[in-house]
């Protein structure tokens, strides 16, 4: 089942926001569960070969999810999500942060503000995510370069140069 599911990845530089939109071939109920129940969330949140491991999760306004991204060598990167707003089967918002295994915030990294929207569209469900950063740091610089248009083209040009040189 490899269909043409919609996926958008854009960056709104003015608002320091990364936007990701994806369509899922599933009911709103199931998609909502997959995003909000730790046992299901852990099955997909970490991109392979990493695995997500939720230590605790209280899915309610003011509640927190404490979880680790576990690497192939067993290395753990802990993070938290503090839920700031929940509208069942429609939207939830949270502030993320890096932390230790006890949930003590790592203040060296800024937090970002996640807004996750769910909507039904026929047989499928659209998830629309906006991740607002305090400042885009690295990411912003990429956008300044006109990542999509300019830089991709520049890179293609460089690829050609690399290819010629390699000969």
């Amino acid at each position: 089942m490899k269909s043409n599911l919609l996926m958008n990845f854009t960056v709104d530089k003015e608002n320091s926001t990364v936007k990701v939109k994806r369509e899922f071939n599933a009911s709103l109920d199931n998609v909502w569960s997959a995003w909000t129940e730790p046992e299901i969330l852990d099955q997909w949140w970490a991109p392979a070969p990493w695995k997500a491991k939720t230590k605790s999760m209280e899915f309610k306004k003011g509640g927190r999810r404490l979880y680790a991204m576990v690497g192939p060598q067993g290395e753990e990167h802990w993070a938290i999500a503090d839920f700031t707003s929940i509208t069942p089967k429609s939207n939830f918002k949270y502030l993320d942060a890096f932390s230790d295994s006890e949930g003590n915030l790592n203040k060296d990294f800024p937090r970002s503000d996640w807004n996750v929207n769910f909507s039904e569209q026929g047989d499928s469900t659209i998830v629309d995510i906006a991740i607002k950063h305090e400042n885009l740091s690295d990411l912003e610089k990429i956008i300044e370069m006109g990542f999509k248009e300019g830089f991709t083209i520049a890179m293609e040009g460089l690829d050609e140069i690399f290819a010629t040189r390699a000969k």
Partner: protein, 109 residues
């Protein structure tokens, strides 16, 4: 000194132009500066930043220094950019699978 941010280095249009110049030819700082309407000082500052980011390869020929693009580093950036999107794609492909499993469980009941 904090290690320079590579993406900060290539955020500046003059620095990007310098990279494009030295991608094809090894050039001296003077030859690079000739291509721009800014002062030599300004250009040499840009070169310094790019060099600190290890984006340039330095070659000494006699008394002249030539700069050339360090290819490996640029490929690294390219990869890094693609990773953003890939992380999400990989995540979502896994979620597709999870959702399919949920659906088949529903059908069993």
């Amino acid at each position: 000194m904090m290690k320079r941010d590579i993406f900060q280095a290539i955020a500046d249009p003059t620095r990007r132009a310098i990279l494009v110049l030295v991608a094809t030819n090894a050039l001296t700082p003077n030859a690079i500066a000739d291509q721009f309407n800014t002062t030599r000082q300004a250009v040499s500052k840009h070169i310094k930043i790019l060099n600190e980011c290890e984006l340039l390869e330095e070659k000494k020929v006699g008394r002249e220094i030539y700069y050339q693009l360090k290819i490996d580093k640029m490929k690294e950036i390219d990869k890094w950019l693609a990773q953003f999107k890939e992380i999400w794609e990989s995540r979502f492909n896994q979620l597709d699978q999870v959702l399919m499993n949920l659906k088949s469980k529903e059908n069993e009941i």
